[in-house]
Symmetry: C2
Subunit: 193 residues, 2 copies
DNA sequence: CGCGGGTTTGATGATGCTCAAGCCCGGTGG
DNA sequence: CCACCGGGCTTGAGCATCATCAAACCCGCG
């Protein structure tokens, strides 16, 4: 379970991990299973833990006054399903996060991060990498505002093709901010070429 | 010139600044004037400096194949007009940043940040605050994808009313991802109530 | 077999874009 | 002092895109 986290850290840092550090990491991250449709975080709650997604697929979204879900982010293996703001400040979140597939995650509290892990060089480097990844993702997303439906779909297919495999179309549509019927037609016309 | 930066740091940190630290900060940030319409960063360039905006107004945008500008972010006093990714990694940027009003900025290279400032507690805390602010801004923005034009405008008017004062409507429209005529009509109908 | 979740297809209409014209206002130069 | 210009804002008409609503279909599963 922790192996894939260790591998992830190794991939995204240059400082080597000592045995003691690996033990520390294994002791600190708490394994947990989240079943399909089960909440990891609900609007109004504080995001007590950052999660590393070992296996599964999850989604972050808001619900509007008409009860419609608006997907904000999607997560598969090696992503961090977390409301970063709520986690860092321990303030109530505006978002819901739940599992779309049965998922295995590793949990990390902000206190444990700061007191036990932050000082490990490889962890600090990985944190920076996570931050950069978040910036890339959201900047791209913001830049896509004002593009047409098909352009946004093409963007997503290029950047995160794995999402198209793992999530049903109505979720992808919500992520893109278009109606599921529009996405269906759009895919039809793309396939026709 | 540096006073407003010092004040900004004080406002967003808890650790006090020593005299020596203040001197260090003043020595490190390089003042620069940027005239209206002048580029601070162009697509393809590396963002060598992070900028603290002391006075003025700036914008970050992409240009599509039809030559249209798509505003990604806007900046006024106390914001940091910077392509964070390009700055952190020293890789070519995909964005343009230029001044919309004549502006005064304070420049900071990543090397100076890491070697001279990062270890100052108040600076480290301010960095975290900047990061949180960025997360708030972009998450809100992403969540607004899929809202209608008037809802997006209302969001912006609530979150950053100062932008509406400082930038002309066609820029606000581009920021929102709608046509300037649509924004004009929308404002008309809002005012009518 | 029937059910539920997901996808497709079609018809209709709203939303918002494009193009074009006119207006307002401040600045510049004759 | 006035004419003109440019940038920004408004307004209108026509049209494209996309949302909505509704029905049918598909398929895995109890």
């Amino acid at each position: 379970m922790h192996e894939s986290l260790i591998a992830y850290i190794r991939r995204h840092s240059v400082s080597p991990l000592t045995e003691a550090e690996i033990e520390m990491i294994k002791d600190t991250f708490i394994p947990k299973k989240i079943r399909k449709r089960q909440y990891f975080l609900q609007e109004g709650q504080v995001c007590r833990y950052a999660a590393f997604l070992v296996k599964g697929a999850m989604r972050q979204y808001t619900i509007d006054d008409k009860g419609m879900e608006h997907i904000v982010r999607l997560f598969v293996e090696d992503w961090w399903p977390t409301d970063r703001l709520s986690w860092m400040r321990q303030t109530p979140s505006e978002y819901n996060i739940d599992a779309w597939e049965d998922s295995d995650v590793l949990l990390l509290s902000i206190a444990d991060y700061q007191n036990r892990l932050m000082s490990i060089p490889a962890i600090a480097e990985t944190t920076i990498h996570n931050y950069e990844r978040f910036v890339i993702e959201t900047q791209k997303r913001v830049a896509s505002i004002g593009l047409s439906a098909d352009e946004r779909y093409a963007e997503l297919a290029k950047m995160y093709p794995e999402f198209l495999q793992r999530f049903p179309q109505h979720i992808i549509a919500s992520y893109l901010g278009i109606a599921k019927e529009t996405l269906s037609r759009l895919r039809g016309s793309v396939a026709r070429k």
